[in-house]
């Protein structure tokens, strides 16, 4: 079991780091999805470990949520992209302190 958890944590870390270091909104977004899927892996692994289905059901719902997030996220990023001709989060800098 632990291997899966470790793997999921690694994936999660990759995703988190990716969000922090990558600049392209789409890539950042994909990293977020990676985090979600890492969580899914952990959920399923724990479900197996505890021998109940909650984790797997959760994974289902997470997929749904992830899908919804994809839709919304792509929509937003596309709009920005079309109005900026660039998907870099660095260019999104009108709002500053």
């Amino acid at each position: 079991m632990t291997e899966y958890v470790v793997l999921s944590s690694i994936l999660f870390t990759i995703g988190a780091v990716g969000v922090l270091v990558r600049r392209n909104a789409i890539v950042v977004f994909m990293c977020v999805e990676l985090m979600l899927n890492a969580s899914n892996l952990a959920l399923v692994a724990f479900a197996k470990q505890h021998g109940n289905l909650e984790g797997q059901v959760a994974a289902f719902f997470v997929m749904v949520v992830a899908a919804a997030e994809v839709v919304v996220g792509l929509a937003i990023i596309m709009t920005i992209f079309r109005s900026r001709r660039s998907a870099s989060v660095d260019d999104a800098s009108l709002l500053k302190f």
């Binding site: 958890v5 999921s8 999660f12 995703g15 988190a16 969000v19 909104a25 950042v28 977004f29 977020v32 985090m35 979600l36 890492a38 969580s39 952990a42 959920l43 692994a45 724990f46 479900a47 470990q49 505890h50 109940n52 909650e54 984790g55 059901v57 959760a58 719902f61 997470v62 949520v65 919804a68 997030e69 919304v72 996220g73 929509a75 937003i76 990023i77 709009t79 920005i80 079309r82 109005s83 900026r84 989060v89 999104a92 009108l94 709002l95 302190f97």
Partner: protein
């Protein structure tokens, strides 16, 4: 396979059903009603739905029966995934009130000369031909009403969720529509889109953390049910590392939603970029919902190992208050200022959350932390809705004029609006005879009773600082005369809904400041969370 038929308490969950139902009907309306009539239909539908849900909530709240020897009222429904208890119902009421105000503000069409404050066609490029056509045709996205209803549904589900999965789903259901709403401003579209992007990316990021926290806690407890988690925490079985990491990650998700340091970065940008009506709605409603969930999570699931997370909250609360207050002093944009003050208020609320104590070392007629936080949420929510609503009125040639200099001498030009705004600011500053004062009083009291006096002292320091930037605006509006060549904003004439909203907010703030007794009693009556 042995299979138990699940059951749903349709009657008790009716508020949720009404809200979601109205949202879906709203989508149908979008699909099949002619464009000219959509706006009216949607407004009517949404407000009717909210009011209906409010009525249902009240009925449900009245009929809640006591459990655990009067410790709490309510029950765990929907196969354990939704908890309908006192606090939940109270928060439903709050969210719905905020939603009502939100719908009222959304429906504003008079300030923009007949069109709402939402983009004519979000997909058209800013400054492009398509956009011009859309705005000349008087188009507007009336989808905002279904969206806001979905968000409201999520916000009601969030604090009422009985297991982590429901909580996560609710979190997303409330977030996603907000992301979109933020991007729909008619004016300053690039700002608005950018706000949406930032909100979305950071929000998704934090929800990823939340989810992983869910996974870890599930790994620790072997169940997502908050009650079960509490039991296994008490039992102390399982791998504590998982538990602690899980708590930390869940906290990341929730603290992001409430906009606490160090996850506050999105707040000012989003508050500034989003259409002000949306800002008004979400500044109040999101905080209410998120704090409801925060309280449930910490009190119900992790109440037993308070000592693990309380130190963390101490630090977070202190940082939040100080940073919010200090940065608010240097803002030159009223929406940003309000955003940072919102951060500071988050800190104060967290101070109240810190005040949680075991029921044993609590004499019965004492203020409980839950009560204090609920009351504070009430007062802050109303004041903030009102304040942002006023911001929508102050305009110059190109739409709203949130920049500091524009507000110079507003008190001379339109004393009433300026006075109301000043009143809201005073309430946020916690000056006596306003609701904000009682709220501050309550949270400070519980925190100090719980022995968190250092936090309270910092909180008081923060309030002194925050008084400064609130008063700064009052002084600007009343005692400063604009330079002869200076461009200043004027107050547009709002529609009836908007003005009524503002008026009611002001009235409630005043009344709660003078006779807070009843509401405080209500907050006490709702009792504790039900496991």
């Amino acid at each position: 396979m042995d299979y138990i038929k699940p059951t749903l308490e349709y009657a008790e969950l009716s508020p949720l059903f009404i809200v979601f139902g109205v949202a879906i009907v709203g989508v149908v309306v979008e699909a099949f009603v002619a464009r000219q009539r959509r706006h009216v239909v949607q407004v009517a539908l949404a407000s009717a739905g909210v009011v209906g849900a409010l009525v249902a909530t009240v009925i449900v709240g009245i009929n809640l029966d006591e459990v655990g020897g009067g410790a709490g009222r309510g029950f765990v429904g929907a196969e354990g995934s939704i908890v309908v208890d006192g606090p939940a119902v109270y928060l439903w009421g709050l969210v719905l009130v905020a939603a009502l105000a939100g719908v009222a503000l959304f429906s504003e069409r008079r300030l923009e000369a007949g069109v709402p404050a939402f983009a004519g066609q979000a997909a058209a490029l800013p400054g492009s031909e398509g956009e011009r056509e859309a705005s000349t045709a008087g188009l507007a996205h009336s989808e905002v009403y279904p969206l806001v209803m979905f968000a409201v549904g999520g916000m009601m589900l969030f604090p009422a969720s009985g297991d982590l999965l429901t909580m996560f789903v609710a979190l997303e259901v409330l977030s996603l529509p907000l992301y979109l709403l933020c991007g729909l401003a008619r004016r300053r579209r690039l700002l608005s889109q950018e706000a949406a992007l930032k909100y979305f990316l950071l929000g998704a990021f934090s929800s990823g953390f939340f989810l992983y926290g869910v996974a870890l806690v599930y790994g620790y407890a072997g169940s997502m049910d908050l009650g079960a988690i509490h039991d296994s925490v008490v039992a102390g079985t399982g791998n504590r590392v998982l538990l602690l990491l899980g708590i930390a990650m869940l906290s990341v998700g929730l603290l992001f939603k409430v906009g606490a340091v160090p996850f506050q970065a999105w707040t000012p940008d989003v508050y500034q970029g989003a259409p002000t009506a949306v800002t008004a709605f979400m500044s109040a409603a999101t905080k209410i919902a998120a704090f409801g969930a925060l309280l449930r999570l910490y009190y119900v699931a992790f109440g037993a190992n308070r000592w693990d997370w309380q130190p963390m909250l101490w630090v977070v609360a202190i940082l939040t208050m100080l940073l919010g207050a200090v940065l608010a002093c240097v803002q030159s944009d009223v929406k940003r200022m309000l955003a940072y003050s919102a951060i500071a208020h988050t800190g104060f609320l967290l101070t109240g959350v810190l005040g949680v104590r075991a029921a044993t070392d609590l004499t019965d007629d004492q203020v409980t932390s839950l009560q204090a936080v609920l009351f504070y949420l009430t007062t802050y929510g109303i004041a903030s809705v009102g304040a942002f609503a006023v911001v929508t009125l102050v305009r110059d040639t190109n739409g709203e004029a949130p920049s500091f200099s524009r507000w110079t001498g507003l008190g001379k030009r339109s004393p009433v609006v300026a006075g109301v705004f000043a009143f809201f600011l005073l309430s946020m500053a916690g000056i006596p005879l306003t609701a904000g004062f009682i709220g501050k009083w309550a949270v400070f009291t519980v925190a100090m009773s719980a022995g968190a006096w250092p936090v309270v002292l910092v909180a008081i320091a923060a309030s002194i600082i925050s008084v400064y930037f609130y008063i700064r605006y009052i002084r600007l509006m009343f005692f400063t005369d604009p330079a002869p060549d200076q461009v200043v904003a004027t107050v547009g004439t709002p529609s009836l809904f908007t003005s009524v909203t503002i008026g009611l907010c002001a009235l409630v703030t005043l009344v709660l400041g003078i006779v807070p007794g009843p509401v405080l009693e209500l907050c006490a009556q709702v009792g504790d969370f039900v496991r």
